[in-house]
Symmetry: C2
Amino acid sequence: MDQNHLSEEEFLKQYNVGDYERPSVTVDMLFFTIFNKEYEDIRKLPEKELQLLLIKRNGHPYKDSWALPGGFVNIDESIDDAVYRELKEETNVEDVYFEQLYTFGDVDRDPRTRVISSSYLALTNRENINAKAGDDASDVAWFTIKKTDIEMNEEDHKKTYYFNIYSQEKGIDIIYKIIEKTTYDQYVPNKQYEFIPVSEEKIAFDHIKIINYGLDRLKNKIEYTPIAFNFLPEYFTLTELQKVYELILGKELLKANFRRKIKQVVVKTEETTHEVGHRPSSLYTFNKNYQTLF
Amino acid sequence: MDQNHLSEEEFLKQYNVGDYERPSVTVDMLFFTIFNKEYEDIRKLPEKELQLLLIKRNGHPYKDSWALPGGFVNIDESIDDAVYRELKEETNVEDVYFEQLYTFGDVDRDPRTRVISSSYLALTNRENINAKAGDDASDVAWFTIKKTDIEMNEEDHKKTYYFNIYSQEKGIDIIYKIIEKTTYDQYVPNKQYEFIPVSEEKIAFDHIKIINYGLDRLKNKIEYTPIAFNFLPEYFTLTELQKVYELILGKELLKANFRRKIKQVVVKTEETTHEVGHRPSSLYTFNKNYQTLF
DNA sequence: ATAATAGTGTCTGTCAGACAATATCGT
DNA sequence: ACGATATTGTCTGACAGACACTATTAT
């Protein structure tokens, strides 16, 4: 019995949700894949690119800007279910690794109304994906993501780099300049985003911030979890795996050291690559019984 | 102009939020401090305990159970602002480190209505805090948190431990048994919570899950960020700092090694402890110009 | 002297970074 | 033979874990 002499059952029966204003809750998805860019010289291995799925907005606000796919969380589905549903709706894939990133809840994120958005990271290899434009989108495209360091000041705890989001196929090039500063009183770096106008194309809402947040997570997690394997097919070469790591970490690795490191995480198969114009490579699989990663 | 021939300004003017059902959004706060438990023998150093603030629920549901402090996110405030406001309301502190943990959004979290909750970690040292019971609470208390390993099976990727939440002062003892399993197809361990009834007292909602999530984050982050310093006053001894680390990590550390490790992160002052019944210790401060942590 | 804590030196094994050397395929 | 990639061996320095030893205070 509570102070109104109601049992829990009675209380829930008479409970009224109330009609004060509630924010809308949405999910935004960072759907990353790795794209193999083939060379004309078949003896050379394809170059890998980190790509992100963006949709072109059909209506206001941010009309004609590129936004993360996503949508509202329905009243009768969990946040994870909403992500699952949206992934299936927009890309027709079901079996994709995803994880929650961060929930963005600033008041002025969306000029229409108050929107709180949980961002999610989704990773897969490029096969079987057919992204299609939904109601709210006039176009869908995979964008290559690249960061280029401009300046690194160790003493100052300051880091400046270009953030390049482009689609060669569509002829779109979007550039932001990002300045990261770690101040004395907080160890979470402060990030400042500046749009560099090279064309009319832009990233909608605060999505550039979310994209960068996702890249940071990816970079951290690849060091101590096996997320990298989500980007690759079941069988892959060690050079392919290494290139995934190099792409996410943004630096080159030494082959011998990399192989020593991931030895316990992969299993060698009898199969090799064929007709590649050079020494064939053994194919490996992910070792599901790895103890610790690295 | 969009498909209805409206400019962005016109669009926003006529935009209607719509009246479909929206979930409620709340924040739940994990407010951790470290408590110094003094010994009668003044020559012995106080033992440190990790403590968490919980409130006793006044009404249904989970009446008389212990819950995390928190509340609704208002329509005109950011999630962080809501946390800031709640922290001030419930504990009257303003200058506290906090960070977002995870947003829990299962459909059946709260029997009253659909509630999506962002959990936050808040850390401070115990001074100047006066928690008070709010409207929805009949009591507030600091609970000591302890984990005791029962079983660790390396091959099986299985870990079992007791999760003990108690207040000696109030004579309350709450125990859960947690089983963590890492299965082949996912590297995020699956956690199973079992309430061990030693008394009538319980943890409300899914808050035991949130508490455990926060402890995991704390354990991870203490290794590569200076969060530990939030638990200590401005000046502290290295033994105190080490005990904070031991508490969070759940294992003893070797003094010489610990000191070598944190050398660059602290600054030695001229001051020492006084009248402690043994050799006095130098007092140290956090070095704000640390380059990397460990 | 003893209890209790503070503070330092050093041995050892592990591991990451760097680099070198050898192997195998197609043209 | 050459171009391209595959695969393995090993030297070195940094660093974490373990342990031992010395120092200083109050009772």
